[in-house]
């Protein structure tokens, strides 16, 4: 693993998470989205994409999204996903406070 990748994995500042998610979405759905835009309601992504978001967040931020956190409202917007990552990173004690 390179230093750069390590930095990406452990960077849990809200702005960094939101920025990385916006880039990920721009690449995957080829559309620029706003942080508060409802991806599902706007028809930008299908229900199949929900699982891709889960897997991406789990791998990128070393978190496990389970139980009651597995609900669509947590994945509707970049803001909601950022909050989810921060919450789960905090709960597992791996947050660096940044």
């Amino acid at each position: 693993m390179t230093t750069e990748q390590t930095a990406e994995l452990t960077s849990v500042a809200p702005e960094a998470i939101a920025g990385a998610l916006l880039s990920f979405l721009a690449k995957r759905i080829k559309t620029e989205v706003a942080p508060d835009q409802d991806l599902f309601k706007s028809g930008l992504v299908s229900s199949m994409f929900a699982m891709e978001l889960v897997v991406h967040l789990e791998e990128a931020y070393d978190i496990a999204i389970i139980g009651p956190e597995l609900k669509l409202d947590n994945f509707r917007t970049v803001e909601a996903m950022t909050a989810l990552v921060l919450r789960l990173r905090g709960a597992s004690g791996t947050a660096d406070g940044g």
């Binding site: 299908s46 229900s47 929900a50 699982m51 891709e52 889960v54 389970i66 597995l70 609900k71 669509l72």
Partner: protein, 288 residues
């Protein structure tokens, strides 16, 4: 009609895309499943896929809340289907394979066991000749993903009994599905319409008339399809689609069902759709 989920025990033969879909649906609705396939490797991957699909179903709010999952047992022994109340055949759409599996399953189960084929195109009457008790055979065309799409196409063969139709209706109700029943015909309603549509969409891309994005964009934007034909093909799996198109073409002689070169080349190159990460579209990585 038994609509109580605790009264059903399913055996599903074939742990591919549809076998894991139907298993997810049943387990998520509290029905125990024995899932059978040829190798432990396939079954090990299927267990992981089913776990992911259960999470997907939960995110989409597609499962009954507070109902404990049904037990999932995987097996490489077809004999383990014997204790099921219903057996669902979900193997590849290759007549010789379906004939072998259906004949063996039929010989293993007791009379009164409902035998469902999740056939894409092969007619129920054709399959009835392969089993011991044709009156207990019925076609159920689950959609993909089975746990998100509530409607299913039920195909009543000429010999399917009233009791079998009632049993399958009860099972589908226990699984939260809605059924529309049709008479038997190769390809049925959905795939006689859908498969030539996907094949023609691929031909349009092959001829350079429009890109895959544009073809799907038109069907979605102008005709209100929720998923365009080429995205749908990627979801089905292009290898499975070619098998089904061949069944339709051989039996119906419909030229629009002869798999087009672009589709065949994608299959040759291993770009089978979502399950391999790429088909007509790129999905980044293999998705279950």
């Amino acid at each position: 009609m038994v609509t109580d989920h605790t009264e059903h025990r399913l055996a599903i033969v074939g742990a591919g895309v549809m076998g894991t879909n139907i298993t997810t649906l049943a387990v998520g609705y509290g029905v125990p499943v024995v899932l059978v396939d040829l190798s432990e490797d396939v079954l090990s991957r299927a267990r992981k896929t089913i776990a992911q699909k259960l999470r997907h179903a939960q995110i989409m709010g597609a499962l009954p809340p507070d109902r404990p999952h049904g037990e999932l047992v995987t097996s490489v022994s077809l004999g383990d289907v014997a204790a099921a109340t219903t057996v669902i055949e979900a193997v590849v759409e290759v007549p010789e394979t379906k004939a072998k599996v259906l004949a063996e399953v039929s010989a293993l189960v007791d009379p009164g066991t409902t035998l469902i084929s999740n056939t894409s195109c092969i007619a129920v009457d054709e399959m009835a000749a392969w089993v011991t008790r044709g009156d207990e055979l019925v076609g159920v065309h689950f959609m993909n993903p089975s746990y998100l799409i509530k409607m299913v196409e039920v195909i009543r063969g000429t010999g399917t009994s009233d009791a079998t139709l009632q049993a399958v209706t009860g099972l589908l109700a226990a699984l939260g599905r809605e059924a529309l029943v049709i008479r038997d015909s190769t390809g049925f309603v959905i795939n006689r319409l859908l498969h030539p549509l996907i094949n023609t969409a691929a031909m349009l891309v092959q001829e350079g008339v429009a890109s895959a994005e544009v073809v799907d964009g038109l069907l979605e934007g102008c005709l209100g399809h929720s998923t365009g034909p080429l995205h749908t093909g990627d979801l089905i799996g292009l290898d499975n689609l070619v098998d089904s198109l061949n069944v339709l073409y051989e039996r119906r002689g419909d030229e629009s069902c002869r798999p087009c070169e672009l589709m065949l080349s994608k299959v040759r190159e291993g770009d089978l759709g979502r399950k391999t990460g790429r088909g007509f579209f790129d999905y980044g990585k293999a998705a279950s």
